[in-house]
Structure formats: C-alpha cells, structure tokens
C-alpha cells in the first residue's frame, strides 16, 4: 500500500501552473512611463507649452525623425500619385510644413502606411501624427488627441449627369435618392443626419469603390468633401457634376485635424505648430496652391 501523501511530482505540478502564468506576466507590456491617468491637453488650444519644441527635446516615435502616418491609397487632391513623401498635395504639404515648424528638415520626415482603422486603436502607435482627412469630433476625442483643424471641411454631393438628382436645388430633392459615402467619414453622417433619405445609404470601404458604384449607376449620388468632389468631377468621372454643398451643421465648422495618440507628449507642440501655420497664412497659401479649383458650389438647404 502506497503512503497517502502527495507525491512530489504533484506538488511540482501544483506549483507549476500559476508559475507558468507568472512567466507570462513577465512578458506583459510595461508602461513606458507616460501614465494614462495624467491629464493631457485634450486639444491644441493650450498655448502654455513649457517644453521647447525642437527635434532634440521631442519624444518622437523614432528619435530625430518625424513619423507621419496616412492611409494607402492616399487620394488626390490630398496627396499626389499615392506618394505622400513627394510633398505634393495639400495634406502632404501640410505635414512637411508642420515638420518644418517643429525644426525637422524634409529628409527627417518618414511616412508610415496607417490604415484608417488602426489610426485610433488603443495600442502603441507607429506614428507621431496621422494625417488622413480625419474630422475632429467630440466622440473621437475620447480615444485620440487632435491638433487644431488644418482645413475647414464642407461636404458636397456628386452625381453623374443624367442622374435624377443632378438638378437638385434643396435637401428635399435628395430625399428619395440612393446616396453613397465612405465608411468612417462625416460624409456618411451628413447623409444620416442632414439629408435623412428614405432609402438606406450605400456605405463603401474606400472612396474608389464609391466612385465605381457612381459610374455604374448603382447610386444616384455620393457625398464626399468638397475638394474630393471637384477632383472626382474634374478627372475621375468627367460626366459627373457637383450638385451642391451642405451648409455647416453645427455651430463650429467641421475641421480635419492631425491625429495623435491619446495623451501624446507631442500634442501641445504639434498643436502650436498648426496654430502658427494658420496664423501666418501658410495654410491658406497651401490651400490655394493644392485645392484652388475648389470653387464654391451652390449650398443645398
């Protein structure tokens, strides 16, 4: 008869199970010192940046370089030829202007392909700022930091000539239309909250799919921001027109902002840079250069 004691290998196993988990715990990510509980400047209005904003003192993703993220493909007129690093297109130019304002030369700027969905994931970011026509909203501020707006956005309707809404003059004319927009854009919110059409809007993963559907007549019209609308009618779908633009919905105009990690140490410096660029007319000049054909379209009321 065997002695009724716990054999030693059992004791070893009993100790091993939690130890295994503890070993896992050793691999757990350690906080890199920036406590998420610390209050962060929630927007760029803070002009009390005490830290000097220079490449030497900025805690960028890779020290000495300014890493900018944007989606792939990067669309005209915000970027040109899907090459963000060529400095062409409004957003590329703005990114380089912000970098220069912070003291980085053009060759100290690196670009990172960041899908829209991962720009706001809570994990560690692989970019310093993300510039991807992201509209600033209160709900989004809970998850990411924004710079002040670098572009005031208006939404517009594009329809092929011969579409039943090509001659629309008011919101009422769009009520029964099948409209399309890209997912995650405020264009979609405009359809849902302003137009409130009777038919469910078509929602596309990317703008080029929305344009394809427009060409095929699968939608009566698509809603995009005004510069994109003029780009589409100018070069992508020659047979289409900008039917009209929407009046600003809220009190403040809708704006595109640079996206930063929530509580990023760079937010105040980047915000200062954008504010300066707006004040000294750089943004206006770049807008004139790259988005100059965005003449006004009739406002749909």
């Amino acid at each position: 008869m065997r002695p009724a004691i716990l054999p030693s290998r059992h004791r070893a196993a009993l100790a091993a199970a939690p130890l295994l988990v503890l070993a896992l715990a050793a691999c757990a990510p350690q906080d890199d010192g920036d406590s998420s509980a610390a209050p962060s400047p929630s927007d760029g209005a803070t002009s009390t940046a005490t830290a000097s904003c220079s490449p030497a003192s900025l805690a960028t993703h890779t020290s000495g370089t300014f890493t900018v993220g944007t989606d792939n493909p990067a669309y005209d007129p915000w970027f040109v030829d899907n090459k963000p690093s060529n400095g062409k297109g409004y957003e590329s130019a703005v990114a380089y202007a912000v970098a220069r304002q912070l003291g980085y030369s053009a060759d100290q700027v690196t670009w990172q392909k960041v899908p829209f969905n991962s720009a706001f994931s809570p994990g560690a970011k692989n970019f310093d700022v993300d510039i991807n026509q992201v509209s600033i909203t209160a709900a989004r501020r809970k998850t990411v930091d924004f710079s002040p707006g670098y572009y005031d956005v208006r939404q517009a309707v594009v329809a092929p000539k011969g579409s039943k809404i090509a001659g629309a003059h008011s919101l009422a004319d769009l009520k029964n239309a099948k409209l399309g927009a890209q997912v995650g854009t405020t264009s979609l919110d405009v359809i849902d909250d302003v137009v409130k059409p009777t038919r469910q809007p078509a929602v596309y993963q990317r703008n080029d799919l929305a344009v394809a559907a427009l060409k095929n007549g699968q939608v009566d019209g698509i809603v995009v921001d005004l510069p994109t609308a003029f780009y589409i009618t100018g070069s992508e779908v020659p047979g289409a027109t900008v039917v009209g633009q929407f009046a600003a919905t809220g009190t403040a105009p809708e704006q595109f902002g640079l996206v930063l990690d929530k509580g990023s140490k760079l937010t105040s410096c980047v915000s200062q840079a954008v504010t300066t660029l707006r004040a000294n007319g750089t943004l206006a000049a770049l807008e004139k250069k790259w988005l100059s054909d965005a003449v006004n379209a009739p406002v749909l009321k």
């Binding site: 757990a28 995650g184 596309y204 095929n216």
Partner: protein, 298 residues
Amino acid sequence: MTVQDEREGGRAAADADPYRPSARRIARERHRRNRTRRAFAVAAASTVATAAVLYALIVDSPGWDRTRQTFFDAHYARISLHPVLVGLWLNLRLLVVCGAIVLVAGLLTALLRTLRGPVFFPVRALATAYVDFFRGLPLIICILLCVFGIPALRLTGVTNNPVLLGAFALCLTYTAYVAEVFRAGIESVHPSQRAAARSLGLSNAQAMRHVVLPQAVRRVVPPLLNDLVSLQKDTGLVSIGGAVDAVYAAQIIASRDFNYTPYVVAGLIFVVITIPMTRFTDWVAARMNRRQSQGGAV
C-alpha cells in the same frame, strides 16, 4: 462498489451473511477517497490561482483602462445592438437563399462531372474547368468583379443591385466547393454497389439516383454543414458593394466614433448563432452514425 454501498444496498442480506470488510480494504478505500478529494482540491486551487494571475495580468496592465473604454463600453454596446441586428437580417437571408441554391447547383455540377461516356466529354470538361477556376479564385475578388464589373457592362435587364450581385458571386464560389464535396461522396461509394445495381437491370441513371446518390449524400453531410457555417460568415463580404451587414454596421459606428465595442457586440452575436449550428451538425453526424451501425451486415 465501496463498503458504504454494500452497507446500504445489502442491508437485507446483512443478517444472513454478515460481511466484514477487511482492514486492508477499508484502508484502501479511505486512501482512494483522500486521493480523489486531494486531486479535486489541487485542481480547484490551480484554477483559482491561474484565474487570479490572468485577471491581475489583464486588469493591472497599463493599457487596461483604455482597452476597457475602447472595447467594452456599455453605451456603444447599447447603440450598436440594433444596427448590428438589422445587418444580421441581411446575413441570414443571404445564408438561406445562397445555401439552397448552392446545394442544388453543387449537386448538379458534381453529377455533370461524373457523367460517363465519351459523348459527354465537353460537359465534363466544362464542369471541371468551372470548378477549378472558382475554387482557386479568392472570394473577395470574385465579389468585387461581380459587384462592380457586371454593372459596368451595361447589359439591359441585368440588375446592378449590389446585394443580388454579391449573392451571385457567393453562389459561384460556393457551388464549386460543394460540387467537389458531392463528387468526393459519389466517388467514395464502392464500385460494387453500382455493379450490383446494373446487374439488377437498373440503368446508369437509375443506379445513380437510387443506389449511389443516397449513400454519397449521407456520407458528405458533415463537410456540407461545414461549408454552410463557412458560407454564413462569408455572407458579410457582400458589404463591399455598399450593402450593410452585421459586421459592417459595427464598423460604421466604430469608425465614426473611434470605439471598437460594436465589433465585440457583432462578434458575440455571430458566435451565439454559430453554436446552435455546430450542435446541429454534431447531432446530424451522431444520428447518421447510429443509423449506419444499426442492422449490421446485410
């Protein structure tokens, strides 16, 4: 049968045959009981310790607060539930319609591939070419080509509804998969079955219809149900054409407000509706096994 069982069960017989378990037997049973109890205690302690460590690991992780806010936010779970369920209705309709079409078309394609005789060579070759092509073509590309390519042809009388076109693409791809499943079933039926049927005077078609197919179909039910579960999840891909299914409804809210909770809601709903399907699959397989093991040798 322990001592206690015998004491309770054999009370009546105890007077006639007073059984005294030996000291050794009593000691052996006590030892076994202790061992069982100890094993249970060890398992419980180990589970509790593991759970505690995992809990501490997740909840004390530096990013837990943000993760909780981004993935498990009650407010977003509430507002996303209705749109996700509305989208799920599209998934379920697609599943039923495409599932029915695919089963019939897949069986027909398999039959075309197994036709005998040289005169049917072009039919066999066409069916084989179709299956080869659409099994190899990634589904997402098939859907893209159908949803955006077919309307570009401007054919009169052809719909440009993205849901119908997406359903057509799903049917094309899944028919190819299912045809192969059926063909494998047909070819797994032993040739002696066909020979026996022919010797009884059945024609080729009758032998196929009454002898081979019933056995073949019964054999491939589990893989067919597997394809059905897979089809259920792939119905979401028609959203590329602009239609809003459950996952897409979640994505719309997630990317509007930068919160991932709607994805978690949609994922849980899919898991919840897949579990009954899995149980059903198991039940069908078990029932078939029972039926096949009945009757023994014929």
